[in-house]
Each structure stands twice: as C-alpha cells, then as structure tokens.
Symmetry: C4
Subunit: 254 residues, 4 copies
C-alpha cells in the first residue's frame, strides 16, 4: 500500500493560488475556520488524500453510510482575478510525528504542482483561560509577512506561542519554507482549549476575509460565535461570583 494515496478529482488551472490549511487541533479553531470558508465560498473538490498515517477508521454520514477518514483539497476561483485559493480540510491530522511530516510534505508537493507560493495555516492558541475577545496571534516565515499581517490586526509576540507550533499548521510553513521555497503565515485564534470554539474561528476567518477581500457571508459563523460568547460570559460571571463568595468566606474566618 502506498503510505499516502492521492486521488485527483479535478486538475484545475489556478492563478497565484494560496494554500489555506485548517485541520483538527486546539479548540478546532483552524478546522472550523477553513471549513466555514470552504462551505461558504464557491469551492470545488480537487484532491482526496487517504493514508495509513490517519487512524484506521471509517466515520458515519448520518444516513447509514460510512466514509473512510481523509483530507481534502478544495479550490476557489477568485472572481477578482487575484489569488485563487486551495483549502486543506479533513477529519484528522497524521497520528505520528513521522506521519505528520510525510503528510505535510505530500500536501506541499501537490500544492507546488498547482503553483502555490504562499500558505496560510489556521489554528487555535490554547491559553486555558476564557477570553472576552480572543486575540489573533501570528507567526510567519519572514519579516515582510509579519509587517503585512500586523496591518490586519494580527498580533506577533516575542514570547508566544512559547512552545512553537506543533502539527500541520507549523510543518506546512516550516517544510514549505525550507524545502519548497514557499512563504507563509500561521494565524492562531486565542481559545481556552476546553471546547470547540467557533468564536475564535470567527475572528480568524475575518482576517482571511479581509486579506483576500472575499465576498463571504459571515452570518452563520457570527451566530455560532455569539452563542459561545454568551456561554463564555455566563461561565465568567459564575467564576467571579464563586471567587467573591470565597473571598467573603475567608473574610468570616479572617
């Protein structure tokens, strides 16, 4: 068996395409963001990727049928004629370190075929805290991109993310830069990491939308984001209440 099996559904001609990755990860921020973009733009499936580096698993579609876990590439033709986009989405990332490298390398090979020179990877940055408004962190392959992304409100920190970036969101940029001569940026939405976080994804998508000047309806993601926003507010209120009660309790003792 080929370790990675690539099925080409279509081989479109693409103009200055940018690869945009969003696979499962912290708070599923990248996955939610990339799938929202894919689902709400006029995209078409171009490539399917199966691999022994994914779990040995089929998933249910809800109608009694099943499908093998996979990654997919979908393309979007930019009506304004600037950058076409290729979205990398899927059920899983590689299960092992080696699988991660092999899969990212293969995706970059495919991306190169279609002329990709720039990569956006989308992800979550887990802080363990409930934030009022999630900040959007960035990490780029070069200083020019750092400067450019700052104009879109992306925050570049000297110290964060302190552990670097693990998985496809990091590897696509690292291998892309070192082996394939591509440049790119990772856009990370702050998230508690405790649950799937469409709110953080909302702010990530906003940046992609603005950067590529996309005609994208944000309503549904905004709605899901506000739901999370309310839950977060309630959780934060309860936290504060508990803390103040504890302070009172201590007061009695003190």
């Amino acid at each position: 068996m080929e370790p990675i099996i690539v099925k080409y559904v279509e081989r479109p001609e693409l103009k200055d395409p940018v690869l945009i990755e969003g696979l499962p990860g912290v708070g599923n921020v990248g996955k939610i963001a990339a799938e929202y973009l894919k689902d709400n733009l006029d995209t078409k499936l171009m490539v399917e990727i199966f691999s022994k580096y994914f779990p040995p698993q089929v998933l249910m579609k809800g109608d009694g049928t099943l499908y093998l876990v996979r990654n997919q590439l979908w393309y979007y033709k930019d009506p304004k004629g600037r950058n076409d986009l290729i979205f990398l989405v899927g059920d899983y990332q590689g299960m092992s370190s080696e699988g991660q490298y092999e899969l990212s390398y293969k995706v970059l090979e495919i991306a190169k075929e279609f002329g990709v020179k720039k990569i956006f990877t989308l992800g979550g940055y887990g802080t363990g805290r409930l934030a009022d408004k999630p900040r959007i962190f960035g990490a780029a392959t070069n200083q020019e991109l750092v400067k450019e992304m700052k104009e879109y409100g992306v925050y570049f920190s000297e110290t964060e993310p302190s552990g670097g970036i693990v998985g496809a969101a990091g590897l696509l940029l690292g291998l892309g830069m070192e082996i394939f001569g591509m440049e790119g940026v990772c856009i990370m939405g702050e998230t508690s990491g405790y649950f799937s976080d469409p709110r953080s994804a909302y702010f990530v998508v906003q940046i992609v939308k603005e950067y590529f000047d996309l005609d994208l309806d944000m309503e549904e993601l905004k709605f899901r984001s506000e739901e999370i926003g309310e839950i977060t507010s309630q959780l934060k209120e309860e936290e504060m209440k508990q803390e103040s009660e504890q302070r009172e309790d201590l007061g009695y003792i003190g």
Copy 2:
C-alpha cells in the same frame, strides 16, 4: 522480511465470492460469528497471512505444540451456485494504525484476485449495558445496501456508532470502497463489551445465514447464546434488586 507474508494453500475458482470478515474486537462478536460460520459450513483453508504487524507471539495448541499468530482465509462453495464465500478469521488484528491499513489493503488485494466485489464485516458494538435482546446495527458503503440490509432487520442509526468503526471491520469497507471499487456492509451486534459475547454473535450469524440462504446448523451457537442469556438475566435481576434496595434506603433517610 516482507512486512506481510502470504501463503497460498489453494487457489480455488470462486463464483461471485463475498468476503466475510470476523477478527477479534469488542466482545469478540465478529470473531465468534465468522469462526462459527467457517466451522459449521463446509469450508477449506485457502490463504495464510503472517505479518510483523501482528504481535511477536506463538500460541499453544493444547497438545504441547505451538503455532505462529496469523490470519486465514477459508472459502465456501455455495451449493446453490449463487455467492461463494471467503471468511477472514485470525488471532489478532494489526497492532498499529499503519499495520491495520497495510493488512486490510493486502486482504483486499487478495480478495480482488479471487473476484470479490462485496464485503460483509462482522463486529460488536459496545454499549456498556446488558441488553435483553441485542440490536444489530449496520453501516454500509451505499444507500442500496442500507435499504437491502434493513429488510433483514439490521438497524441503521443516524447517530450510532458515533465514533465510527475502528479497525479491520471499518477499513476493509473504507479502503474497499475508495481504492478497490467494492461495496459492503458492517454488521454489528450490540454487546456490553465486558465479556466474549456469543449471544450477540448469534444474532449476527442469523442475518448472514438468512442473507446468503445458508444451510447452517445454529444449535451450538444457540446453546452458547442461551448460557449468556441466563447470565445476563441474573446480572440484570441483581442490578434491579440493588437499585430497589438503594431506593428503600434512601426512603428511610428521606
């Protein structure tokens, strides 16, 4: 060493053969079912599979001799001339994700050689509860099979199994569909998952028997099934007794 070593014992001519898999798994339902079918039909060994993806282990036969762990294919010639059957049985599934993929892929290659176009995989669906009568869940590669299997009493749920199907029972269908153009269905007997469950296997075998109109003596499996049925009833009675006692205890307190 070849990662998977295939020994052909016989290369029979088979008519529209269907592959029926039953390897160790939840409640060993699939293994018990497939081995019961293999042992109680007039089957012959055709292929033996050894692999470094199995544990590095030999097992005892009970007479002082040992054998290397393996998977096997046994064939059954349908006297009615419709579908010959190939049974996949064995001591273990692959130990790693990658081994699972490699082994399922190899079995599908062999199956293709013999003309297999349809696959039945048998397994258990662990619920953590003792069921009075186990339901039989299904998951298929296409809607036609979903409809067909419903007529045999297989239950297709929108939500279950929620985690999909892991291992050979899922992979053979997923890879079979995507890479080998085969169709198939997974038949899962509900089981607690706490012990080897011939009762759940009994209902799985019944469906296979009816679907392929097999002349199969069910007596022994029925006997083992009823033993489990009695144990289950006793366990359930004790559970209920304990619960009602607890309720009484609480009554005194309340």
Copy 3:
C-alpha cells in the same frame, strides 16, 4: 542505514548445527542459560548483529570503554561429531513488535546459511510464585519433538503457557517453522519473575547438556543456583511465618 547490520567475524563449516537462543526475558533465565553454555564450552564468535530495533544505547565494559548494544552468534564444534551448536546471545531483544519480527527473521536467514534445521529457544516462565524446584515447561513445533523432550523431563502442559510465548523465543520457532522449514522447541524454566534467576537457568542448562551430551562443568551455575535456592527458602519461610501470624491474629478476632 540498514535496519539490521550483520558483521561476519568468521564463517565456519558446521555439521548439522542447532541454533540455541537465550536473550533477555522473564527472570533472564534464557540469557543466563545460553551465556553459561557459551562461556563454559569452547565457543568462538562468528556473527555480530547491530540494529536500529535495539535501544539507542552504549554500555560500559568496566574499564572506561564502551560498546554498542548488540546480539551475537557463537559457534561450538561438537567433538563427538554429532551436532555443532550456534548460540544466540545479546544485550537486548528488539524494542518493537516489528523489530522483533525483523530480527528473528534475520537470525533465521543467517542460521539457514550455516545449515541450521533445528532450534532450541531458552526462556523463563513467570508464575509470580517462589517454587521449591522449578519445573521445566516445553512447547515444540511438532509432536515428535514433544515426545522426545518429555524423555528429558520437560513438562508439556495443555494449558500453559496460557498466553503463548512472546518475543524471540517464540518467534524463532514460529517463523522458523512456517517460513524456513525448521523444527524446534522452547524450554522454559519456571521462575517467579521477580529477579534474575540462575536457579531456573540451571535446570534449563541441565536439559540442554543431557540432550546434546555436552561435556560441561556445571559447578559455577550450581553455586549461583544454590545461593538463589537459599534466598528462596528464607523468603518462603518468612511468608509462611507471616501467614501463620495472620491466622493467629484472625483467631483472636474470630
């Protein structure tokens, strides 16, 4: 890097050689036994095996120098002209299931080159109990060997070892039988499994000595065996004392 690197130190002509394996395992019984045989017979180093399936480790010789972990084959020319012997000894077994298969397969390839048709694997059978006199269990590739080894006092059980035999001691026989057409027997000395057990190894070596009619001085191993025997007796006495005290304590309560 070749996954397994084989260095031939010498390529001796051997007469009907038998491979005798003793690598680290339960109670180190096999390792102690095989190394005692190797050290106390007139053996010569013939092959060294390095591999990425061993741990990435060097060990100290005690004089400030180090050596890379390895397996070795040593040969013994039978002065009586019946069976020459090849001993497989080493620092480690393969670290992964796949490494175990690869290493056993490679050893069998080398053994075949030198004409090996029969294999003895030596090991420990961990019972978790301190035995007065360890029994010697066997498992063989065929009934003839079972009968033959019974005459040497090897005990073949219908049920033990219930989990089969894991590692090189099992694989060399399983792969040897299935792929290389060799026959063989595993000789397992009963051991608690709590410590390195030269006493169990002593009884294993006795059987090898008798079977091959070896002119072997057993004094040193006997001495180490008796030390263990004394420790075992003391431990057992203390166990019994504690148990009887506990019984008395319970008597007061009862």
Copy 4:
C-alpha cells in the same frame, strides 16, 4: 519525503577534523557546552539537517518569524593547524529509537565525507543530587583515549554510568566505532538533572578547551555557571537547615 534531508550550506576543506556533539539531554549540559563553543569560536554553518524523526514542530525566533526544528553542523578552522572542529548542535534528538539510529548514522556519513576520525560527545550525567563541584565522567571507545582523557581530569568509573549512555552521545561513538572505524570519547558533566545546568557545562567546556588548546573566552559561561553555583549553595543550605530542624524535631520525640 526523504526521512532525513541534508542541506549543504558550504563544503569546506577540513584538516583532521574532530566532530563535537552537544544535543539536548540531561541538564542540557551537552547542548549548552557545544553551543557555547560554537558561538564563541569563529565558526561557520556548513550543514543543516531536517527529519521526520524530529518532532513535527516549528519554533519562534522572537521577532514574529518561525523556523523548522533541525540539527546543524558548524565548522571551526584551527588557526594552529592541528584539528579543525565540526560542532553538531540542534533543537532536538530523534524522537524514536529508530530515529536516533538513523540520525546518528547520517551524521557519521557526513562526518566521514569531511574526514572525521575522532568524535567528542558532550552530555550530562544525572545524579539527582546537587554537587558542590560537578565531576566530569568519561567513556571512550578504546584504552588509549581513556588514558589520554584522564590526564585532563576526566573521571572513568568502573560502574558509572551504570545504565550506559543513551541517545546521540552514545550512538555516535558506538556506531562510529563499529561501522565507521572512528574513535571517540563521551564527556559527561555531573548534574542534578533538575534544571538546565551551565555550571556543569562550564567544566565540560574547560576540558574541550584544554584538549584542543582553544583560544576561547570563558567569561560568559563562567558568569552563568556562578549564578547556578549560588543557587545551588542556597538550595543546599536550605536542605541542611531542614534536615537539622527535622533532627531536632525528632529529638523532642526521642
């Protein structure tokens, strides 16, 4: 993807070069030592190594840009015309046993290309205790090197390190000796193993400096070493205070 990707930045002519390794490990002693040497001698980057055996990770540079984890070789031209040096430094060692072997083997292949015949590996020897002055342990591939290194104050013990040497520091010597005909020594600075230990590294660097008669400014490492020295003294004082208090407490009881 090639499992290990080697990028040659420069292919210098080197005179009797010695490979000096210092990768992350116990107390990061080897890493601190080798990087201090690399940074404070007039070295140039010659080779970069990327690999799927490293973690799938990019790290941050502090200016918003990222880099893929890697190992590097830097060379130093000895102005006195004796031994040029090649330093092996990097973010990680291989993640798996097999990766460790593959990476060390590849480094040795590269080293051989440039004429390396001798290897120094630098590491920490974790004792779990805070030492007043760390001893420097050694382990060499031959007796001549043992003798030679003793003159530089390296301590060769009959029993330590009792578990041998694990990882690149051991493998480079073991594989270098067995497969590439190189000789070498591992220099291990005693360290508690609880934190990064520039103090232990200081004494390791001292030995390398003296052995190769390097014109090396030790000031910065001395400063960092003294900081650790003070912390160690304070921690030891507190330990002793606590112990004496405990003894007093026990006195009251006794």
